[in-house]
Amino acid sequence: MADPRDEPSDGAPSQGAVATEAPPPVVPEQGAPPPPTGVLGLLVREQSIVVPIVAVVAALAIGAALIRAQGVNPTYAYQSLFSYSFGTADGLQATFEKMVPLILCGLAVVIPLRVGLFNIGAQGQLMSGAICAAAAAHSVREAPGFLVAVIAMVAGILGGAMWASIAGALKASRGVHEVISTIMLNSIAAGLIDYLVNGPLKDPTSAYPASYPAPDAAKLTPLGFIPIGLPIALVLAILVAWMLRRTTLGFQFETIGRNRHAASYAGIRLGGMIVLAMAVAGGLAGLAGSVEYLEIDPYRYQDGIAGSLGFDGITIALLARSSPLGTIPAAMLVGALRAGSSTLMFNTGIQPEIVDMLLAITLLLVSLPIIAKLIFRRHTAKSSALASSWGS
């Protein structure tokens, strides 16, 4: 009871509060600071939305200064970027196409975060998924196109799930930290795939190392400007949100993430759940890889197919504050920035790397609890809950 952790509850009325002889007036309900009203109250209540928005706005402001420093009007620059991404059919399709793997990779980071794991390996899982999809599609290339596409996607899910399970199993059995193992597995995946596309899976007709292309009939052609992958990704985001919130599986994941000692006491099998969570995450990243393969020109596995999608997934998960549905707007923002970056260069001469800088600044800001503290100082019961929640 002399433990400093008990401090905030000192003097609380709830215990044995049978005040027969009157001690001084009773404190209001415990842990409930008087709720601020008006605009500030709104900000406090909705801080999980407000913090990312503030981070994005601040990043755009810093970006504006950088753009200005290169002698370009920032308003014009942002205008040309976003008016392409959202204002033209081509741009919108490009934004949506980028969104698909971004949502899936975001989910691949969100789920482990809920279990208390930081999955840095969406990149490797996506690549594993893509190469498995390519291999599977090539081996069943004679089958009807629809079937080939489904088989390729299933293979991609399994490939990513398997790759992520390695990190999960290492964590569960040997306690290997998942940040280390997933980073390592990213490099191992890159090396292995490099061998495959230079050897067994190389398309001899290709001038550079690449897998065989997807059969024409299996390619996912967009419906108007909506790529097929988009509804799949949106449905999966909703499913993951439902799973985490409503199902016994989600409860087990959450319990482990919040207090793994209590989870183990409550009979939850930590090892199995950790492997399962990583497998589900890897499966989503792997699906992203197979969709890239089936949906995006040149429809083959080649170097750079993954871009930085897996790492963007981390930005998205943190921007979404670990909310599965939050990955959708976050992915839309990142997708729009990426889709519009070449127009930005065409119109203003600013290098597309400005987008990487904007994302990096956003990530930095959203990860720092400082912003939250500046805004919500004195108005939050627990500022620590605002800090990004990975690790333990």
Partner: protein, 513 residues
């Protein structure tokens, strides 16, 4: 200012410490409100109060670890604010924290001078430190080997090192924050006599506790705190345990549990030659055998660290035993996992409710189904049924007197006693065959203790077998129908609970045969 040679010399007039109108808030929680108290030279003052009464907050301000919002702390006539612990030490205040502030890998002498090292010719004056330890321990009758490494010392001795360290800085006022929480009954008695000697030599002591027996044994005066305020000040000679307990909770508390004669029936739990390793791979439980029958409470009494934790974890399926067997109702559960033992009918009130018993950020409703979320009626197949979860919580709120704003309140926002009631409610509500209660009232206020004790007896009367593991001898004595004394990981004696002798059990707990 004349030194009277009475049994305990004190100068009635000189107020070493004088606190006036002290208030301190954390956020909107008023941890201390308008506290006024004083301590005279050579006096032992007990601060008594249940959890969260504000005792620790109060002494933290005296020692400069927290700043008061209002009020003054006057030390030897000097009312300037206590800036920090260094300032407090300079002004003659010493504090022994509940969690020791010693470096385990250093020797006693090294720990002693840590923070104000003296040097001789540019080198650490370790010989001087050794001599100082010897001199101080001789002067105060606190035997300690200056060259022993702290991590090898028993807890009671580590505490002596802490006290000596405080004394080495020439303290006038020594603050002891729950000093007996970690001690054996014998060590506690030793500490109490040391405290008396120190006071006789003129050192004032402020002593935080919630154990009435110790207050009555050692203190001159008692301040009772409740909800952050002083609700009573009384000379110890003018009160008794019941009077103090009443002041603490604001009503009469039944200190002894009223219970009928046990009617033991069939055997429920049978443990044979159990060996369980601890985290360091040592045999913490070493050939433990015990039977528990339906309708009886078997209390395992022992000094902490004699294998109780490992025993409980092994029965609950959280720690696989090395050898031996555990049977529940004739079924072998030696290799069962926590899920299996729960299904088999074991309700387990874990020793550490913050770590194992609760998920602080979950709602009370979720915590009340923490190990049953995947059972009917709390789910339909894969999907959880939140209506049932809420109804379950609402029913248990009433039945177990859980005081919280609502079933969706996060568990972490509750006081210790209410948190424990949540755990107790969960583990009793599914009708366990064996109720295993480890330290069920640790860090719980007196009112909740009474309630939990009554519920444990009620579970017994409804036919459950109860295994009670507690470091509080008083708890075992008042609840158990049969007492098994554990020492060195095995049962060294089994006695009937009725008329068990406190000193006899204390002696057995300490390992004296």
């Amino acid at each position: 200012m004349s030194q009277q040679e009475t049994e305990r010399p004190r100068q009635q007039d000189e107020r070493l410490l004088d606190i006036a109108g002290l208030s301190k808030s954390y956020g909107t929680v008023r941890a201390n409100r308008d506290i006024s108290l004083h301590v005279r030279r050579g006096e032992i003052v007990a601060l008594l109060g249940e959890n969260g009464a504000g005792k620790s907050t109060l002494v933290k301000q005296i020692f400069g670890l927290a700043k008061p919002d209002e009020g003054t702390i006057t030390i030897k006539g000097d009312a300037s604010p206590v800036k920090d612990p260094r300032d407090a030490i300079r002004r003659g205040i010493g504090m022994v924290h509940q969690h020791f502030q010693l470096v385990p890998v250093m020797t006693v002498a090294e720990n002693m001078i840590l923070g104000h090292e003296t040097t001789k010719g540019g080198r650490l004056d370790i010989d001087g430190a050794r001599a100082m330890v010897r001199e101080l321990s001789k002067k105060h009758g606190l035997a300690v080997d200056p060259d022993a490494e702290v991590e090898d010392l028993p807890v009671g001795t580590q505490q002596r090192v802490e006290i000596l360290k405080a004394l080495s800085r020439k303290v006038d006022l020594l603050i002891l924050d729950e000093p007996t929480a970690v001690l054996t009954p014998q060590e506690t008695d030793e500490l109490l006599s040391v405290m008396k000697e120190l006071a006789a030599a003129g050192t004032s002591i402020v002593f935080i506790t919630h154990k009435l027996r110790e207050v009555l044994a050692v203190s001159d005066r008692v301040y009772v705190l409740r909800q952050g305020a002083v609700v009573g000040e009384v000379a110890t000679a003018d009160t008794d345990a019941r009077g103090l307990a009443t002041m603490m909770v604001g009503r009469d508390v039944v200190l002894r549990v009223d219970k009928d004669e046990a009617k033991p029936a069939h055997e429920v739990l049978s443990i044979k030659d159990l060996v369980v390793l601890d985290d360091r791979h040592l045999r913490a439980v070493d050939g433990f055998s015990l039977d528990v029958r339906a309708g009886e409470i078997v209390g395992v009494a022992g000094v902490e660290g004699n294998g109780q934790r490992e025993l409980v974890e092994a029965i609950a399926g959280m720690r696989p035993p090395q050898s031996g067997s555990i049977d529940l109702l004739g079924k072998d559960i030696t290799k069962a996992n926590p899920r299996d033992t729960h299904v088999a009918g074991i309700g387990h009130i874990p020793e550490d409710r913050e770590r194992h018993g609760l998920v602080a950020s979950y709602s009370l409703a979720d915590n009340l189904v923490l190990n049953r979320f995947a059972e009917k009626p709390f789910c339909n197949g894969f999907v959880r049924d939140f209506d049932e979860v809420r109804q379950n919580a609402e029913a248990l709120f009433t039945e177990f007197d859980i005081r919280a704003p609502g079933v969706q309140t996060p568990a972490g926002a509750l006081s210790g006693g209410n948190k424990q009631k949540v755990v107790v409610a969960r583990e009793m509500s599914f009708g366990p065959k064996l109720l295993m209660a480890a330290q069920p009232t640790r860090g719980v206020d007196v009112g909740s203790i009474e309630f939990i004790h009554r519920r444990i007896v009620a579970a017994r009367d409804e036919g459950a077998a109860v295994l009670l593991v507690s470091a509080e001898l008083d708890e075992v004595l008042s609840l158990a129908d049969r007492i098994a004394v554990i020492h060195g990981g095995k049962v060294v004696a089994e006695l009937p609970g009725k008329d068990a002798d406190r000193t006899e059990i204390g002696r057995l707990m300490a390992g004296d045969q």
